[in-house]
Subunit: 331 residues, 2 copies
């Protein structure tokens, strides 16, 4: 790609970075001129780093609005920081644009990032912009901070701890099906709600910053509730009892899922909610509820952790039921 | 992609990460189980972060051996850290594998990373593994540290400073042409040398750690010598006089480039050498030479910086010559 050229042509790499990304850069990014960021960590804090990639046609649909793609990319990483108890500070971004990506799509993508930077109080530190002959692939590295030694991992849960989840479960998985043309009879406002839950995750970032005050273990619900619960149990070497009736479902989700099988399939195995699944000692219940209320986040106690190293799901009558764990594979 | 299956089948995402990448993980990576890394920065140090992506068919050839692709990916980022005066500590990696990538290619790629981790003394902290329907795209974020306030930027050079470069220039650009089938008459050992220079950059990482002791500005030669010199001059608001005869060329490069035009075209505009172009005050000459000798790195003084804000190239007779700056665009 040559330099200069007429105004309507795609700008070269440097002009594109100047136009799209320099307005997003924080001081750590050195004006995006230096191929690297320089950041002075605060004494007394650990850094938490998360790096997730999303690809066109796999993690988002080509028809998704570009600002929502940008927000999803950022938020799937902010969700990982939140589950560690970290406060976001900055991010680096790689864009591998497909040859078909028009400039206005790129601009709308950058605008989406700008909105979320402001919402979540972080800035762009650097990255890279390339062209590829296949579908667009983005990769983002988010950096957050947590008081030293206070990062919440997956491995600290103990038998007897309560099992909690933020927000509602299943909306994103159902939203994907709706976006793909299923559930044709769904009412417009319900469609909008569900699709937006798929496109724009709502990770509880402000609540996540408090996690190290009460959580013994945490992770985000990205692979599906049962698969992620498996990850937590395996890392903490515990089992779990999950009370199905306590799993938080949105009114729209309940209204739009008609069969029991379909509903629980989406709840157990659907991914992409990017809520936080966490364990906390029983005596912290009141604290959890108070902090969630202060952060304006819904929390639900959905079971407890056990000595036995397996996951038991109880139905509405308290009877153990067989479920085939089948998480959504992003791979 | 399903779970389990027969031994010859491609493993699922989690098994693949366990097999390929867990052996590479440092303690900051939390066993690659937590979707995030936790790192305690050393007091008194700034962090330098670099993120570069490479795509199959654009930054490396499908026929390149996978271990060299891994090394190139890591080294283009280590080169950015070196040019800031930083010491590498860790990295995060996103792999977006094309559907055609076989497991043994992935394994050889991981083996290449392992060799370079050992050579450059850093470890894997985390990342992400996905599949894409187009060509493979990798993105890597490298994290290094530099004593607080001592990072070398592009913007600190002053008129009168010497202009230096490490290693030799042009080999990588010629190596790419050879790898693409040009220069058919080249002798085998010369071919091997040039192709290896294209495939496996040799950034002067140990020398880079010393940069803040003498360099007023620095960057890596990735876009082409003249384009990168332009970047340095623009950031430092200076001009430059470049003595063409002082530019370091390898014996093989000199032997294989027959026409003057071809030779200087590759030197001025060829990218991918990943050497360091730096400015240093005249009184630091001896120090630069001593430190380079200690680090076993070739350094050449190729000109100086000037008040006039343009770049003048002098030929072997000291005459100013016209050159059309045309950097290699990675975009």
């Amino acid at each position: 790609m040559g330099r200069g050229g007429d105004a309507d042509a795609m700008p070269d790499e440097f002009s594109l970075i100047e136009r799209l990304f320099e307005p997003l850069a924080g001081p750590e990014g050195l004006g995006l001129k230096d191929d690297a960021a320089v950041f002075t960590p605060r004494v007394g804090y650990d850094l938490v780093l998360s790096k997730d990639a999303i690809a066109e046609g796999r993690h988002y649909l080509s028809s998704d609005p570009p600002d929502t793609v940008a927000k999803k990319l950022l938020r799937v990483n902010l969700s990982d920081l939140a589950a560690k108890g970290a406060t976001p500070r900055g991010y680096l971004l790689s864009c591998a644009w497909s040859a078909e990506t028009p400039l206005d799509w790129m601009q709308a993508f950058a605008d989406g990032l700008e909105e979320d930077q402001s919402k979540f109080d972080l800035s762009l530190w650097g990255g890279d912009t390339i062209r590829v002959s296949g579908p667009t692939v983005f990769s983002l590295t988010a950096i957050g901070e947590v008081p030293s030694g206070r990062a919440v991992t997956r491995s600290g849960a103990a038998p007897g701890d309560d099992l909690w989840v933020t927000g509602t479960i299943g909306d994103a998985a159902l939203g994907l099906l709706v976006a793909q043309g299923e559930y044709a009879g769904t009412e417009p406002e319900d469609r909008d709600y569900l699709i937006s839950r798929y496109r724009i995750p709502q990770p509880p970032v402000a609540f996540g910053k408090q996690l190290s005050g009460f959580a013994s273990a945490a992770l985000d619900v990205s692979d599906g509730l049962l698969a992620d619960l498996d990850h937590l149990c395996a890392a903490s070497q515990v089992g779990a009892r999950l009370d199905r009736s306590a799993i938080p479902l949105s009114p729209v989700f309940k209204k739009c899922t008609t069969s029991t099988e379909e509903r629980w399939g989406l709840v157990y195995g659907g991914g992409d909610d990017y809520q936080i699944l966490f364990a906390a000692p029983r005596e912290k219940q009141e604290r959890v509820v108070d902090l969630a209320r202060a952060a304006n986040v819904q929390v639900s106690c959905i079971g407890c952790l056990t000595e036995a190293q397996d996951v038991v799901v109880l139905d509405e009558a308290g009877q153990s039921i067989d479920v085939a764990p089948a998480g959504f594979s992003h791979f």
